[in-house]
């Protein structure tokens, strides 16, 4: 098993990533107070969260050291996550009503 000899500390790299994540989180809090529409806000929040998550995955969870595993995990997970998004059109359908279906239009 991995043992002491030859192990170099990564503390420096961790701290840098840590600061980046905190900075992004801070940015999110700033955006939360800005005056933009909900979809705009959502897009920005999600984008930043993905960046944060990617940093954590790559450097905290060491996926950057193992490209095979990186591909397996990322491709698999992202594919499943994307496949889950079909439902959104129906969310909007419930919000806006189905076309031609409002009886009070008559």
């Amino acid at each position: 098993m991995a043992m002491a000899e030859g192990h170099k500390s990564n503390a420096g790299r961790y701290v840098i990533v840590y600061i980046c994540i905190l900075a992004i989180a801070f940015l999110q809090f700033v955006i939360a107070y800005s005056n933009i529409t909900a979809p705009q806000m959502f897009a920005r929040m999600l984008f930043l969260a993905v960046v944060e998550g990617a940093l954590a995955l790559l450097f905290f969870m060491h996926l950057s050291d193992n490209h095979g595993l990186l591909w397996f995990v990322v491709v698999f997970t992202v594919f499943v996550l994307l496949a889950m998004q079909y439902g959104w059109t129906d969310s909007f359908r419930e919000l806006l009503g189905a076309p031609w279906s409002n009886y009070s239009k008559y």
């Binding site: 359908r93 419930e94 009503g97 189905a98 076309p99 031609w100 279906s101 409002n102 009886y103 009070s104 008559y106």
Partner: protein, 267 residues
């Protein structure tokens, strides 16, 4: 054993196809203007898939027949072309079938679901509840009054929750337990669910659409044959699901007018 098996497969495949070819059990004849496309799609699929079905079963049977009684000295042979031929065959044969039917099918689907009802279509509202359909006609004013779920009362026969005392639009609305429509007139059906999911299925009209509680939906269709047809519920809605139905009466315009008058008098 293998030969009997092969014969059995072929026999089953052919026997399975016979009722289809002889139209022993067909859906009720189509009475809608859009249904022709659906039927055409169905029969094309039936032809192509039927041939694929028979061909695959028979091929399977023949191979079983032929290759199960080899003698010890026989050599193993490989299917001409090998796996490559198979993959190509699958992509070409099934691929074209998929493409062709998939593309044609879009039109039939769009006819029902992606086109707007005509501006002069006649509106009828249908409400599904455990375990009955009720229909509402807007009356002379041509408008539907608003629904008040809290006022729904089976006991007072207020099935839709109309407030005829206060809502001007509701006063002349006509509520019925069967659906009558004039022939050759486009109907714009406005669908509303009272409690749980139900469905509106009229095989003869070639329409099926679920009711979604919390989301009003619509259908539009034109019936071309006078007659009496059944509307049945196809979405499991509870213990009375099997018995949830109503009649659809397609009438001539005159019959329809007098029917509506009679119903108005009954309100």
């Amino acid at each position: 054993m293998a030969k009997i098996f092969a014969v059995t497969i072929i026999a089953i495949a052919i026997l399975s196809a016979i009722p289809i070819i002889r139209h022993t059990w067909d859906p009720p004849a189509d009475i809608s203007t859009h249904g022709g496309r659906i039927d055409e799609q169905m029969s094309e699929t039936m032809a192509e898939a039927g041939i694929s079905f028979l061909a695959s079963q028979i091929l399977l049977a023949l191979f079983i027949w032929k290759f199960s009684n080899t003698r010890p000295g026989d050599k193993i042979k490989t299917f001409p072309g090998g796996a490559k031929a198979v993959v190509w065959a699958a992509f070409l044969l099934v691929g074209t079938e998929v493409l062709a039917l998939g593309v044609f099918g879009v039109k039939a689907w769009a006819d029902v679901y992606l086109t707007a009802p005509a501006a002069n279509a006649m509106p009828v509202q249908v409400q599904a509840g455990q375990f009955a359909f009720y229909f509402r006609y807007p009356g002379p004013d041509g408008t539907f009054g608003p629904l008040h779920p809290d006022q729904i009362s089976e006991a007072n026969a207020n099935f839709f929750g109309l407030d005829t005392a206060h809502d001007q639009d509701s006063k002349d609305d006509i509520v019925t337990a069967e659906m009558a429509i004039p022939v050759n007139r486009e109907i714009h059906l406005l669908m509303h669910a009272k409690d749980v999911g139900h469905s509106f299925y009229v095989p003869a009209l070639r329409v099926q659409q679920d009711f979604v509680p919390g989301l009003d939906l619509s259908l539009h269709f034109t019936a071309t044959q006078v007659g009496k047809y059944e509307i049945v519920c196809t979405q499991l809605c509870g213990l009375g699901h099997y018995n949830m139905k109503a009649y659809l009466e397609v009438m001539s315009q005159e019959d329809y007018d007098s029917w509506l008058k009679k119903q108005a008098a009954l309100q």
